[in-house]
Symmetry: C2
Subunit: 286 residues, 2 copies
């Protein structure tokens, strides 16, 4: 099976390494606008050969688009224009609504499967990729009824080879939910990092006192702006709503602290402790 | 050496387990207002024997107060009233300014050393304690000039036995800095957990889509409200200032997203990426 991976970063690279470790019959052509990424991907074994998008897509059985979401719809359409009749195109973007809308009218829409893996780290680029990133993680397939059953079957087989759990959802619902449990936590972390870095300009050595709790909360602030700026744009309505609720909660917390209302402060935290139930679930599933 | 540990939770328990693993000559008396915690602490080897505060303090060479910060000043004063002439009292609270003020007038102030270890987890209670929690972590000693040189020496020897790095700071400066790199990140995490839990009431199964990034950001929301409510009260002015800056940053981020200003969004995240430098430093030091 010839697989074309376009976008040789954390997700595309890990997909390639993962599927190569599971199936002997795959040959990966690596496509990336960065010459450096293409070279790195080949050197570290993500791609068997580098390729140009149009020719690589034309000869592939399976095309994975793993670029920033701003370029996904266009690349999916271009790929659908060029693929063999039996080939399939998927993407791995963190937004699904706009992409699905923008490819909706394509005559070969059925050959496209919209997917989003609930997996990632704060690192980016081909060198951050590793073969087990996707193992045992959830892959959400959106608007499955828009994909040909056979294209869906081929895709699901590959996801199963990667030992992923598959889940189905409407693209609009996906975007609404993911804003709260992924996009918002990235913003909270970027903003926290930025706030404390601003403060460091006045109070040097402030970070000498930072420990593992701070590290954990601010870890996602290391994430790639190239990936995340288009995600926030594409999902702006849902992200803005989630962010509004978060700001209101923080304002309430601030009011409680300013009023020295220790009972309300305690209650708010007690409610937040309920997150333990959720986190236990996430850990179990990984 | 007879050591009295008052407050047999994560920090007090880990202090006791740590020093017992490093020194053979110590005997720990465990004091806690909870009968259950006292029993657990003895069962799992934190304390060699349970004790009542007044009598335990009177017979000890070294007294550690590891209770919520709201009770620290009073317990320090009571301990100073009762200890042997050569004994030392320390606390491990996350705020230092108010505590130092409240013990300032005590005739035996010199026997007290105000300390704060940059160490912790999101768990609490004696069963969360482990002997290496404090190893290689930073212990901040505040207002050292207020402690007798000999009391300081005894204390520092114990911290060195625990393989801690010692740092010195004025209590006011400690509270100002710790608000940004510890207290604020706890609030950001409590508020994030609480916000998404609120949303879950409308959108069930929302957490099915949460992954390791969300877990990391919201981990501190599991922390004990009994510990944290008094911390935010005691350091309310600094915490409120930090929280205000954080809310303003989030409001800016929201405005940028609402205006679909992808360049500013990218720039804000690019600046936040600088946190990588800090986190590398924290990891190296642990």
């Amino acid at each position: 099976m010839n697989i074309c991976v376009t976008g040789l970063g954390l997700l595309g690279g890990s997909f390639a390494l993962g599927i190569k470790s599971k199936r002997k019959d795959v040959r990966i052509t690596g496509v990336d606008i960065s010459i450096e990424n293409r070279a790195t991907a080949q050197r570290i074994g993500i791609a068997d050969e580098p390729g140009e998008f149009e020719s690589a897509v034309a000869k592939s059985d399976f095309v994975v688009i793993a670029t920033p979401v701003s370029s996904v719809a266009e690349l999916v359409r271009k790929a659908l224009d060029r693929i063999k009749e039996s080939a399939v195109v998927i993407d791995l973007g963190s937004t699904k609504g706009l992409i699905c809308q923008e490819v909706a009218g394509h005559p070969r829409r059925g050959r496209y499967v919209a997917a989003h893996p609930i997996a990632g780290t704060e690192n980016s680029g081909p060198e951050s990729a590793f073969p087990t990133l996707l193992s045992h993680k959830m892959m959400i397939i959106c608007d499955r009824e828009k994909s040909d059953p056979e294209a869906l079957r081929v895709t699901e087989e590959i996801f199963k080879d990667l030992e992923m759990k598959i889940s189905y959802m409407a693209s609009a619902e996906h975007d609404r939910h993911i804003a709260w449990v992924s996009h918002l936590s990235h913003i909270s972390s970027f903003a926290l990092g930025s706030t404390v870095l601003d403060k460091e300009k006045d109070e040097r050595n402030i970070f000498n006192m930072a420990g593992s709790g701070f590290s954990s909360t601010v870890r996602l602030a290391k994430s790639s702006p190239d990936m995340w700026a288009p995600i926030f744009s594409q999902n702006s309505r849902n992200v803005s709503e989630a962010l509004d609720a978060y700001i209101k909660k923080l304002q309430l917390f601030k009011k409680i602290i300013d009023e020295n209302d220790e009972i309300s402060s305690h209650n708010l935290m007690k409610e937040a402790n309920e997150i333990r139930r959720i986190l236990t679930g996430i850990l179990k599933s990984e």
